[in-house]
Point group: C2
C-alpha cells in the first residue's frame, strides 16, 4: 500500500514537471535567459530544471574570447597560484567503493593536494588516460572561484543577474571545476538552488526529483578517505584508502547508474529494484556556454566529456534555497520507510542545522 502510494507520487510529480517530450530527456530548454519573474514562477517555485542556451553566457570573456580553452592564458593568469586538486584512483570521489578493511562498501573522499596551477593542469591532462593510476580533479566546493581562482573570476559573471534578482540574494558560493573524462560525481543532492554553467567540454546529468528519494536507497556508510602513501620522484602519487577513526557514518545514495560489469548490474538491480524498475531518470547534456538550472534537492549524477585539451571546465553558482512547504513535504516523504522487507535498509533524517556545513564539504546528505 505504501509503495503504491509512493509510486503514485512519482507518477503525478513527473506529469507535473515533465512538460516536454521524453526525447529531450524531460528537461526543457530556453533560447534566452528567463526574466527574474519567469525564472522564479516557472522553474524555482515548481522545482523544475531547465537548460538555457549559450545566449546566456556569450558576453563572458571565458567563452566569447575562448580564454578558458587557452592553456597559455590560464597558466599565465594563475602563474604562481596554488590550487586544490582532488586525487582518486578512478575518478570517483565522494563515492561508494569497497571498504579497505571490512566487508561491504564505504564512502570514500578524495586525497586533496595543494599544488601549483601549472602542475595541476598537467596532472588533469595526464590522468585522463585510462592507464593512469590516479585521476586528478581541480575543484573545491568552498567558493573557490572567488578564492584560489580569483585571478579568473573576472572572466565570467560574478553572479547570474536574473537568478540574483529572482532569489533576492547573491550566490552563497561560486565554484570552479576543472576535470577530465574520468571524473564523475555519484548521485547526491544539494540544499542550494544551483546555476551550473559549462565553459569548455560537456557535462552529462542524470536527474531524479526529490519525490523519488526512495529510489536511491540512501543508507549509512562508514566514511573513508584516500591518503598518499608515497610520492615518487616522477611526481606520481600512490593512493590508499583509510577508514575514518573514530568511525563516522555518512548517509549516501546506494545506486550506481552505470554499473561497470554484468555482475554489478545483476547485483544492483536485485538490491535496488525501485531504481531499476521505476521511471528513467531525466537525462541531459549541458554544452559549452549553456547553463543548467538544477533545482534544490534534486538528485544528480554527473559525468563529463572533455574539450580538445582533454578538460571540462565549469562554474556553478549556489544560491540559498528557501526552506518552505516543499521541503517539509520532502522531509516527511523521506521519513517513510519503504524498505521494511529488506534487512540491510536504513534511511536517516537530516538535521537542518547541519545542512549548510554538509553541503559545503560536498557531503550534502
Amino acid at each position: 500500500m505504501e509503495e503504491e502510494s509512493v509510486r503514485g507520487l512519482w507518477t503525478e510529480a513527473r506529469e507535473l514537471i515533465d512538460s516536454v517530450s521524453a526525447d529531450s530527456g524531460g528537461v526543457e530548454r530556453l533560447e534566452s535567459p528567463p526574466s527574474p519573474l519567469q525564472f522564479i514562477r516557472d522553474y524555482v517555485s515548481p522545482n523544475k530544471p531547465v537548460i538555457i542556451s549559450s545566449a546566456a553566457t556569450r558576453h563572458w570573456p571565458a567563452i566569447s574570447r575562448s580564454l578558458w580553452s587557452d592553456d597559455a592564458y590560464l597558466r599565465r593568469a594563475l602563474s604562481g597560484c596554488s590550487v586544490s586538486v582532488h586525487l582518486t584512483p578512478d575518478g570517483r570521489a565522494d563515492a561508494l567503493v569497497p571498504s579497505p578493511s571490512k566487508s561491504g562498501l564505504c564512502f570514500a573522499s578524495a586525497f586533496v593536494q595543494s599544488m601549483d596551477f601549472s602542475e595541476a593542469m598537467q596532472l588533469i591532462e595526464a590522468t585522463g588516460e585510462e592507464s593512469s593510476p590516479v585521476v586528478a580533479y581541480a575543484q573545491q566546493q568552498d567558493d573557490c572561484l572567488r578564492g584560489e581562482y580569483e585571478a579568473l573570476a573576472g572572466d565570467v559573471d560574478a553572479h547570474i543577474p536574473w537568478a540574483t534578482e529572482a532569489l533576492g540574494c547573491l550566490p552563497e558560493a561560486v565554484n570552479l571545476w576543472i576535470g577530465n573524462a574520468r571524473s564523475h560525481t555519484s548521485y547526491h543532492k544539494d540544499h542550494y538552488e544551483n546555476i551550473y554553467a559549462v565553459i569548455t567540454g560537456e557535462k552529462h546529468f542524470l536527474l531524479l526529483p526529490p519525490t523519488e528519494v526512495h529510489r536511491l536507497y540512501v543508507r549509512n556508510y562508514p566514511a573513508a578517505h584516500y591518503i598518499s602513501s608515497s610520492k615518487d620522484n616522477g611526481g606520481e602519487v600512490k593512493l590508499e584508502l583509510e577508514l575514518e577513526e573514530p568511525e563516522k557514518m555518512v548517509p549516501w545514495c546506494s545506486v550506481d547508474p552505470y554499473p561497470a560489469s554484468d555482475e554489478i548490474i545483476a547485483e544492483q538491480s536485485s538490491s535496488f529494484p525501485l531504481y531499476y524498475n521505476g521511471p528513467k531518470p531525466f537525462q541531459c547534456t549541458v554544452r559549452a556556454g549553456e547553463i543548467l538550472y538544477l533545482p534544490s534537492m534534486w538528485f544528480h549524477h554527473v559525468t563529463q566529456s572533455p574539450d580538445d585539451n582533454g578538460r571540462t571546465i565549469a562554474v556553478n553558482y549556489w544560491y540559498d534555497m528557501q526552506f518552505d512547504m516543499k521541503y517539509a513535504y520532502y522531509s516527511f516523504l523521506q521519513s517513510i520507510n519503504l524498505y521494511r522487507l529488506s534487512s540491510v535498509a536504513s534511511t536517516q533524517g537530516e538535521d537542518k542545522n547541519d545542512i549548510k556545513q554538509n553541503c559545503s564539504n560536498s557531503n550534502p546528505d
Copy 2:
C-alpha cells in the same frame, strides 16, 4: 508511527510558514502591496498567506469614495438588476447539517433565488436578525462581479496588478459577496490562488495549511439542498432540506470549529481528536480595505462582522494555481489513511479533471 510522521510534517511546515509571532495569529502583514517578484517568491511559491494593508485598495472608488457603504448608490447602480441570493435557515450553506431523512449529517447547499437587487439588499439586512427564519447571502461563485454585478465592476480594480503580473494571467473569476453577520462558510479549500479584498465590514478567517488535511476529517456526505416549500404574501420564504436524488456523495471537512453547545463540543472533540489536539489554526481578521492572499489549497473557515448598514461586502479574485510538486505531495499526503482505527472514516482522492468544475460551484473537495 504514521501519525507521528504526519505530526512531524505539521510541525515542520508550521516552523517554515510561521515567520511571525503567534500573537498575530501567524499571518504576516504588509504595509504596502508586494512587487510581483516578492509576491511570487515570498508568498505564492512557499504557499504562505499574507495580509496587505488598505494602502493596496485606497484608489478603489468602492472604498475611497465609500460607494459601497452607500445604500442609495448601490440601489441606483443596480436598479432593475436581478441578482442571485443564497438562502439558508441559519447562514450555513455548503455545510454539514442533520440529514432530513437518514441519521447522520448531509452536505446542504443553499436555496438560490434570483431577485431584484433592492429586494436582496433589504433581505440581507432583515435576515441579519437572530429571529429571522432565513438568512440571505448575495453571492455566486461564477465570476459574478463581471456578470450580475457588472454595474459595480468599475468601482474596484478589474484585477490585482501585482498578482496578475506575478502569476502571468488574469483572474479566472472575480466574485462579489454581500452578507450579514449570520452567514459563515465552513472549512473547505479552493484550487485557486485567492486574493480576497474586504470592502465594508470585516471577515474573520481560520486557516489550516494543506499539510494538515487529516485534521479536518474529509469524509463523504450525501448531498442535499434547500428548497422553498412556500412563499407567503409577506415575501417570507420557508425552507426545507431535500436529499439529492439519485444519491450523490460529496467529500467535505467534518470539523466545526465553533460548536454551538457543550454537547457538540464534546462530540466534536472525541470524533476529531487530530483537530482538537493539534496546533491552533492560523487566525486573522481582514478589515475594510485590506487584502488577504489566501494561498491555493489552504483550508479556510470564514465568518464576518457587518458595517453600520448590517452588511459585509467583499470581492475575491481567483487566479489559476500551478499544479506543481507541492500539489503532487499534497495528493500523496491525502492518500495516507490516518484513521484506520475509526470505522466511519473514509477519505477520498480527487480527480484533477473535476477540480475546476467543483471549485466554481463552491464544492471544491
